[in-house]
């Protein structure tokens, strides 16, 4: 082997042994910059989730206030008017038995008003609704809808949450609230079925009705269904997904799956 060959051999080998660390360092630096990007994306997603959470909280509160407003006007207002009428119609000179009947009726109406006010009081804790857990908050919602006697509402809970996740509970509750609200407003349904299932690491909510249904594709394509868009978006924000199926004339089905740990 000549001197020139040895020189070339040593030179090439050294170059290879130097290029290898260069590539390694370049890879570590490249991977690290991707790690930075990934962390930034995660932070952005977290920020978006938190924004969505605040929005959902505000919407739950707004919905609650609307319900309270309507109830004060339609229910408690009417009850109190009746009590007032009853009490005003009592004449001290009239028959005691008749007056007693009116007083008893007023007392009964007052008790009814107190019951209504208690229910309203519970609803007033709109933003704290989910503190008692998702199952309890949906139950509260079901109770409220059932009260109107307009719908037959079935509510089933399968399993139970091992640990509470208040943030996700709020998002899921808002989706359920929005879906139910849509059914009440647009579906012209007589039956609503809500099924809440706690799986090992997932929560599934199924909401169906026997209403008029709608064409999901045309509503989504025409960008009309802001409510539908919100359901999809919120389920995604919580790391899950939503499925909406409906055929005009045969009700609608909303399935929500959210990872839950």
């Amino acid at each position: 082997m000549g001197v020139a060959d040895i020189r070339s051999l040593v030179l090439i080998a050294t170059a290879i042994f130097l290029i290898a660390p260069v590539f390694l360092l370049a890879y570590v630096l490249f991977y690290n910059s991707r790690k930075k990007k990934h962390i930034e994306e995660k932070a952005q997603m977290k920020q978006a989730f938190e924004t969505e959470l605040i929005k959902a909280q505000a919407e739950v509160q707004e919905q609650t206030l609307q319900t309270i407003g309507a109830d004060l006007h339609d229910n408690i207002g009417q009850l109190l008017s009746l009590i007032s009428l009853n009490l005003n119609s009592i004449e001290l000179t009239e028959d005691i038995a008749k007056a007693q009947k009116k007083i008893e009726a007023s007392a009964s109406l007052t008790l009814e008003s107190i019951k209504e006010l208690r229910l309203l009081g519970k609803l007033l804790h709109g933003d704290q609704l989910v503190i008692n857990g998702l199952a309890a908050s949906i139950e509260q919602l079901v109770l409220w809808i059932s009260k109107a006697d307009r719908f037959k509402v079935e509510y089933h809970v399968h399993g139970e949450a091992e640990e509470k996740n208040t943030a996700k509970d709020l998002i899921i509750f808002r989706i359920v609230q929005e879906t139910v609200n849509n059914i009440v407003k647009h579906a012209d349904a007589s039956e609503i079925v809500i099924e809440l299932t706690f799986l090992t690491d997932m929560v599934a909510v199924k909401i169906s009705d026997n209403g008029v249904g709608f064409d999901v594709n045309s509503i989504t394509a025409n960008n009309k269904g802001m409510g539908l868009h919100n359901i999809y978006k919120r389920a995604m924000m919580a790391g899950g997904r939503a499925e909406i199926r409906s055929v005009p004339g045969s009700g609608s089905y909303v399935n929500i799956f959210v990872p839950y740990q």
Binding site: I6, V10, T14, A20, L24, N32
Partner: protein, 225 residues
């Protein structure tokens, strides 16, 4: 005095000065010991040049300077292992492995000293040290990749310090292996090439270390602000 300042010594002195300027306020280990280690390296190198000149002037009475570098090997093995232990310990407990590594190096060192005395370079120990440090460097980078936290590596003192070690020890593999293998064919040309390669590797090593010390100073300034 000036005749003692070869290119290698000059690069080491520059690195030593940078370490003093950048790390004088840093009381954290292992950074606090960098200047001391570099000072020791500079003194050894300068003494090495001095003894080499004496040997070249009077080969009959003077001894080669190899014993000095054999002595430096001990400090290199101990200090660099210690620095790696500090860096890697943030991710995993590595001390027992490093103690085993040092024991292997000590055994090899003792064996070589027993075999050929202090005036012949401990080549096996040097090669084992080379392999050990390259493995530590690769393991450090592996842990860095696995770490979920983001670190700005462009300004990470640890990253560039290890980069210097990896460049020097991995880059010198070819010269170490081939040079010894091709020893019978040595010519002044090949020896010159080997020296040139080592000069280049030294510049890379101390260049990376200088930048690492500057990064450490920046980090200290940021933490103080």
């Amino acid at each position: 005095m000036l005749r003692l300042i070869t290119l290698n010594v000059f690069v080491e002195l520059v690195c030593f000065v940078v370490s003093v300027v950048c790390l004088n306020k840093d009381r954290s280990w292992p950074w606090h010991g960098m200047s001391l280690f570099l000072l020791l390296t500079c003194i050894t190198e300068m003494l090495g040049v001095h003894f080499k000149l004496l040997y070249l002037a009077d080969r009959a009475h003077a001894r080669p300077n190899i014993w000095l570098y054999n002595g430096l090997l001990i400090f290199q093995a101990l200090f660099i292992t210690y620095v790696f232990e500090r860096f890697i310990n943030r991710y995993v407990r590595i001390r027992p492995v490093m103690i085993i590594g040092l024991l292997i190096l000590a055994t090899s060192y003792g064996y070589e000293l027993y075999n050929h005395g202090i005036f012949i370079y401990n080549e096996i120990t040097n090669t084992l040290m080379l392999i050990t440090f390259v493995l530590y460097s690769l393991y450090y980078y592996y842990l860095l990749l696995k770490d979920e936290n983001y670190i700005n590596l462009n300004r990470s003192p640890e990253f560039w310090w290890v980069a210097g070690i990896l460049f020097f020890y991995f880059g010198s593999t070819a010269t170490n292996v081939f040079f010894d293998y091709l020893y019978p064919y040595h010519s002044p040309d090949v020896r010159y090439l080997s020296k040139t390669i080592f000069r280049g590797l030294n510049i890379l090593l101390y260049g990376c270390w200088c930048y690492s010390f500057i990064c450490k100073k920046w980090a200290l300034q940021i933490s103080e602000a």
